[in-house]
Every structure is written in structure tokens, then in C-alpha cells.
């Protein structure tokens, strides 16, 4: 039965039909599906099925990523307080756009996907200096700093990922904090993440969820 509900939910998301997706969840809750099952048997598997579709090269459009992230995050945020026991989060991520970059949609989609995957996200917003990324990561015990950029010059800028790397090195934090990057220019140059000294990148929000949780696991004992 949960499998079928998961399919209905995933189809509604792919049809970019928020109302229908939320109705599927409401109906499930009314039929006594537990909040834990909603998250782990419906929302997460539907994201995973999109991940599989993306990695198999089936086109999933930006609008569909956006809806998966928005709806998924919305449902998970509503379900978590209703869990029988407070769940352990996967980890914590600090996210923002690089200095000089005011393009926030990529960041928002990544944030939604991470939240739907039970990762804690602290969104610092747009135009964030490297110091702020690092200070916040330390203060909030985050495992990953995620820097999003839409243009090549902001990706390569000293104040972005490169600056974060320099500070992590100077402060001896490299063993504790990883850097993830993404945004349009990385999708045109798959090696760009190395030039900006990041640990990983991902080409879309759903894969970002996977890449970032992998990084969290690398530095979590």
C-alpha cells in the first residue's frame, strides 16, 4: 500500500501538481500512515526515484526539481514534530551564494532537497563573504559549507569557495568541514569544482542532496 502511495505522490510531484501531492499525503495520514512512514516510505523514496531517473539520463526539468524540493521540504517539516521520538538529523549544512552573486534559486532548490532528506540547513542568503560562511559553520557545528553561484567570475572569485578553503586551511578546520559547490558554471565545466578547491559539486538539487550527505558522512565519526 505504501509503495502505491509513494508512486501517487511521486507522479503528482513530477506533474508539478502541489495540491495533488499534498492531498496524497493528507489522505495517507488520514488512513493512519505514520509521520515516520510519510517521510521514510513516501517522500525520501520518491526523491530517490527521481535521482535514479536523473542519473539514467531521463530528462527531469528544473520545474520538477523545484517542486520536489518545495513540496518535500514542506511535508517533512510538517511531519517531524509529529514523530514518536525526535529523529537524529543527518547533519548540518551552511548554504549561501558567493560574494557578488545575487541568484538564489539554485540554493533554494538544494536547501529544499536537503531538508526533505532530513539534513539541517542554515541558509545565510545571498552575497555571503567567505569569513561568514566559515564563522557560521564553526558556531553551528556544521559539517558542510555549500556555496552556490550562477556566474563564472563569482565561482572563481577569491571571496567564494577559494576564500572558504583558505580560511579552513588557516584555521586547521579542513578535517572537520567540507566544501560543496554548484550552480550554472559548474554544469558547463565539470572540473571547475577543483579549480575552486571544493570537495564536491552536483549538477542539480537532488544529486546535491546525495553528494552533500556523502560529505557529511566523511567527516562524521
Amino acid at each position: 500500500m505504501l509503495q502505491r502511495v509513494m508512486r501517487l505522490y511521486a507522479d503528482a510531484v513530477l506533474d508539478t501538481d502541489r495540491d495533488r501531492a499534498l492531498q496524497v499525503v493528507t489522505d495517507a495520514v488520514e488512513a493512519h500512515v505514520s509521520p515516520e512512514e510519510v517521510v521514510f516510505e513516501i517522500v525520501l523514496p520518491s526523491l530517490e526515484s527521481m535521482m535514479t531517473a536523473v542519473s539514467e539520463g531521463q530528462g527531469v526539468s528544473l520545474a520538477q526539481h523545484y517542486m520536489a524540493a518545495q513540496i518535500g521540504a514542506e511535508v517533512v517539516e510538517e511531519m517531524i514534530p509529529r514523530f514518536a521520538a525526535r529523529p537524529a538529523t543527518v547533519g548540518r549544512v551552511i548554504i549561501g551564494t558567493a560574494p557578488g552573486d545575487f541568484h538564489g534559486l539554485g540554493k533554494r532548490i538544494v536547501t529544499g532537497c536537503l531538508k526533505a532528506m532530513m539534513v539541517d540547513v542554515v541558509d545565510l542568503g545571498l552575497n555571503i563573504p567567505a569569513e561568514r560562511f566559515v564563522d557560521e559553520a564553526v558556531a553551528r557545528h556544521a559539517q558542510v559549507i555549500a556555496v552556490s553561484t550562477m556566474m563564472l567570475h563569482t565561482a572563481l572569485g577569491e571571496g567564494g569557495s577559494l576564500g572558504v578553503r583558505r580560511l579552513l586551511r588557516e584555521r586547521g578546520l579542513e578535517g572537520r568541514i567540507r566544501i560543496a559547490v554548484g550552480g550554472a558554471p559548474y554544469r558547463f565545466d565539470p572540473n571547475l569544482y577543483k579549480a575552486v578547491e571544493a570537495d564536491a559539486w552536483a549538477e542539480n538539487g537532488i544529486l546535491a542532496g546525495k553528494v552533500i550527505t556523502d560529505l557529511i558522512h566523511e567527516v562524521t565519526p
Binding site: 526539468s61 528544473l62 520545474a63 518545495q70 557578488g100
Partner: protein
């Protein structure tokens, strides 16, 4: 030697030429050409025209631009602040639509050519026309209604309104953007621009599902283009892919040229276009920053090999980033001139 315009016409009409047309989109590089900051440079239509002419002459490619930066269109709608960088394009620095009520306050200028935010571009266009009019194709850029809200309210809010509604608010905004688009197209037509790049990332299946494209993108594009002569209009999705919808565009909008994504399959797109329009094969210019000479030549050759057979083909770049070394620009262009040569039968 043929002029850029003659090459372009030959490619469109399928008549003989010395080589395929080669478009190279150098915008911000103009400031460096004149030794100015980007902010000073873009404040002057004379400077932009001069740099466009100098770069075109120096590198030998076929087109010149009247486009300064894309955010200028937001200035026409009341945006008063651009954010400048030392080494990259200026960006819209203020969203004119902050609440849905702001949509009703938006005014589309009646006469684009009389708007102060258009004055420098007008100067630029006049110079370009008098210097190379009829010889080098003069290109302008117009954002489609469906994409314009990204610059008025930001991509995040626009995506939300587009996907989650309310639809009547969305349509009120789109109607204003379509009005702007139509007026801009008319202005460029009147000013004698040869090519208008009609830019619509939201007309790409990378952005929206196919069903949505048919239900929403197509009708709004029909409104944008309703009163425009289609000659000279080039379909472009901001470098997102659109191979899957070319047939629909040809069918419904009859546009004469397609500026593909570097990620589109050129040969497959050409097969769909089947001589009905010009195919523009585009290089992934972000890679020009790091590719070696051999890699650049191999990539140019791959693109031209895929697109040139059967004619009706143009080689082009995206918005070339400033960090591309000049030597690599030359390598790319020389390769395009060489591999794009058309032998006499």
C-alpha cells in the same frame, strides 16, 4: 572577401559562400579593449559601439552587438540599480516587483526609443549602423515574456508564482512583459537591427516539462511575437537545451533561426529543422578558459562537422566570460574559419 552579412544571407538562403558565418559574443571584453572600467564603459553608447567595431575588425568574426547587458531591460521597467563587478557582467541590483501589488504599478514605456535607459543603446546602434550597417549583422537581445519576470522579481519568486500561482497574478505580470517584449521588438525593427536574439530559458524543456511548454510557453510566445516580422528573430534559451521542441516552434512561430545549447545534439536538431531554418551550433565557451589549443580545435571541428553538411549552418559562442585568454579566442576563431571554409564545387 565576403562581408559578414553576405555570409549570413548565404547561410540562410543556402547559396554559395567562402565560409560559414561565425558569431562571437564579446560584451564585457569591450571595457578591456578601451582600457576602461565596466561601469564607465557601459555608461557610454559611443564606447560600446567603438569597442564592438574594434573587436569585430581585430578578430574577424561576423557580428556586432547593441546589447550592453541583459539587466538593461529591467531598467526600462524602473529598476534603478545595477551591481557592477570588476571582472564580470553587471547584474540587476534591485527587484522592482517585491509584492504582487507592485505588478499593477509596473509601467511599460510607450516609446522604448524615448526612454532614458535606452538612450545610450540608441547612440550605439546609430554608430554601428553608420559604420557597418548592411555589412556586418547588427544583433540585439530581447527577453521573452515568460523569462522577463526573473529580472523583475528574481528567479525564486518567479518560479514560485509560475508553478504555484495564483494564475491570474502570473498572467497579469506576463501580459506586461509581453507588452514590453512586443514594443522592444518593434523598436529594434524600426532602428534597423538585423538580428534579434529572442531569449527564453522558460521555453526550454530543461526548465519546464513538455506539457507545460505547450500549455503556457507557446501561447505567451505567440503573444510576444504576434506583431513582429519573423525575419531576423533567433530562438535562444539562454544556453539551455531545446531540441525536443524545435518542431513546435517551427510549426507555431515559424522562426528562421535556432541558437542551440552546447549540450544539444547538433546533427539531430539539424535533421528536425530539415532546411526550414538556420541552425546555430554553439561552443561551450566556459571551457575555453582551460582548454588547450588542441582541445579547442577538436571541439570546433566536432561542432562544424556535425552541423555544416547540407549548409544552413552558423558557428557561435554564448556570452563569453572575461576569463577566457585572448589566445584561446583566436584559436577558436581561426579553427572556425578554417573548418568552416566552403570549398568551391
Amino acid at each position: 572577401m565576403m562581408t559578414g552579412m553576405e555570409r549570413l544571407k548565404a547561410a540562410i538562403n543556402g547559396t554559395p559562400a567562402d565560409r560559414i558565418p561565425v558569431f562571437c559574443n564579446l560584451l564585457d571584453q569591450g571595457a578591456g579593449e578601451l582600457g576602461m572600467s565596466l561601469e564607465e564603459y557601459y555608461a557610454s553608447g559611443e564606447c560600446v559601439a567603438e569597442a564592438q567595431l574594434r573587436m569585430c575588425a581585430r578578430f574577424g568574426y561576423d557580428n556586432v552587438w547593441s546589447l550592453f547587458y541583459v539587466g538593461k531591460e529591467a531598467e526600462l521597467m524602473g529598476c534603478g540599480r545595477m551591481i557592477y563587478a570588476a571582472d564580470g557582467p553587471p547584474n540587476v541590483g534591485e527587484m522592482v516587483v517585491r509584492t504582487y501589488d507592485d505588478i499593477d504599478k509596473l509601467t511599460v514605456p510607450d516609446d522604448i526609443t524615448a526612454h532614458p535607459a535606452f538612450a545610450e543603446e540608441m547612440k550605439c546602434l546609430r554608430i554601428l549602423r553608420s559604420e557597418v550597417g548592411g555589412k556586418q549583422p547588427i544583433c540585439a537581445y530581447v527577453t521573452a515574456s515568460m523569462t522577463m519576470p526573473a529580472m523583475l522579481m528574481g528567479m525564486e519568486k518567479w518560479m514560485q508564482l509560475l508553478m504555484m500561482g495564483p494564475p491570474e497574478v502570473r498572467d497579469r505580470l506576463l501580459a506586461k512583459c509581453a507588452d514590453l517584449c512586443r514594443k522592444r521588438l518593434a523598436a529594434y525593427h524600426e532602428l534597423g537591427v538585423d538580428i534579434v536574439v529572442y531569449s527564453n530559458p522558460f521555453g526550454s524543456t530543461d526548465f519546464i516539462p513538455l506539457k507545460f511548454f505547450h500549455e503556457l510557453s507557446v501561447p505567451w510566445m505567440e503573444r510576444d511575437l504576434a506583431s513582429a516580422a519573423s525575419a531576423g528573430i533567433v530562438y535562444y534559451c539562454g544556453s539551455a537545451r531545446f531540441g525536443a521542441i524545435i518542431d513546435t516552434i517551427l510549426d507555431k512561430l515559424a522562426l528562421p533561426a535556432f541558437y542551440l545549447s552546447p549540450h544539444d545534439d547538433i546533427a539531430a536538431c539539424k535533421t528536425v529543422i530539415a532546411g526550414r531554418a538556420l541552425t546555430c551550433g554553439i561552443i561551450n565557451d566556459i571551457m575555453l578558459r582551460t582548454w588547450t589549443r588542441d582541445e579547442i580545435r577538436a571541439e570546433v571541428k566536432r561542432i562544424i562537422d556535425a552541423g555544416m553538411p547540407g549548409g544552413h549552418f552558423l558557428f557561435g559562442t554564448l556570452v563569453m566570460p572575461c576569463s577566457i585568454p585572448e589566445e584561446s579566442i583566436c584559436t577558436m576563431l581561426d579553427a572556425a574559419y578554417e573548418f568552416g571554409r566552403i570549398g568551391t564545387p
